[in-house]
Amino acid sequence: MKDDDLDLLLGSEERILPSSGFVASVMRLVREEAAALPPISFPWKRALPLVGGSILALGWTLVALVAFSVWGLPAAPSAEPLPPAIISAIAIAKSMQVVWIVAALAASAISVKLSNWLAR
């Protein structure tokens, strides 16, 4: 089959007519779309101070980490030895990784509070 034959066959396409209710059905959908509430935009004004604060905190943490890795931790001031009960409580907390659990719980609580506040 030559190109001309293909052109003739594919160029002479039958035309189909839209059904009578087509325009009405499109316009019904368009009106529904127009009546729908616009999506809630992200509250940048409220979020901006928090985002800025987070960036500052992250920056400060990075600077502190670099400083500690270069110069080491500052020498601890000599202090009175802690009572044995507190020392054993700290040891238990260390063994149970309580610090990380508390940190995770705090992070979750903060993110929940923050989401609720932003959605208000």
């Binding site: 066959l9 594919l10 007519l17 087509f22 325009v23």
Partner: protein, 190 residues
């Protein structure tokens, strides 16, 4: 005149007059449904696809930058919608073409000789890999205009020409297979 009407109607819609979109739908329903039909070969589905294209056009109306004609923008948007839709649910054109080849041998042979010939060719186009099918469909929809085809598909003209050439080659091979199918079919049935 049509282009001016399109622009005026778009401006009315954008200023909040939703009913002005009806004039756009009336003016473009024929081309959009026919383009969809060329992709899917199913009247009902063509209307559904065109409906979705109009809805997307309504949502994206503010994004028409007026650098291109409204018709160019609308056809390109509709083409995009149709291609996505066909990727989601492919047309059953291939299945129909296979049916002719395997089960209706005499019909396939006759179809290439009589009035059904065009239909067989269209079904063969629909069964091509999408990148060749899309170029062929748009090329004939735009009355064999390569630049318009390129704009609708967001492709360089060179790519359109290359795919057009390759698509036609694949189409010829497919049609040759279909015309040879009676002999194959007889041996298949025995």
């Amino acid at each position: 005149m049509g282009a001016e009407q399109d622009q005026a109607d778009v401006e009315r819609v954008l200023s909040g007059e939703t009913s002005a979109f009806e004039a756009i739908v009336r003016r473009w329903q024929g081309p959009l449904i026919n383009l969809a039909y060329r992709f899917c070969r199913d009247r009902g589905r063509a209307e559904d696809m065109a409906q979705e294209a109009f809805l997307r056009a309504y949502r994206a109306l503010g994004g028409w930058r007026k650098e291109a004609a409204f018709s160019t923008w609308l056809i390109a948007l509709a083409t995009n919608v149709y291609r996505s839709e066909l990727r989601r649910i492919p047309p059953d054109a291939l299945r129909r073409a296979e049916k002719i080849e395997l089960h209706d041998d005499s019909a396939a042979a006759k179809a290439l000789e009589d009035a059904n010939r065009a239909q067989v060719v269209r079904q063969a186009v629909a069964s091509l890999p999408p990148k060749y099918r899309d170029v062929l469909v748009l090329f004939y929809f735009h009355e064999m205009d390569v630049p318009d085809t390129a704009v609708s598909l967001a492709l360089p003209e060179g790519t359109v020409k290359a795919r057009l050439w390759r698509g036609r080659e694949l189409l010829r091979r497919k049609l040759m297979q279909l015309s040879e199918s009676p002999a194959k079919g007889e041996s298949h049935e025995r």
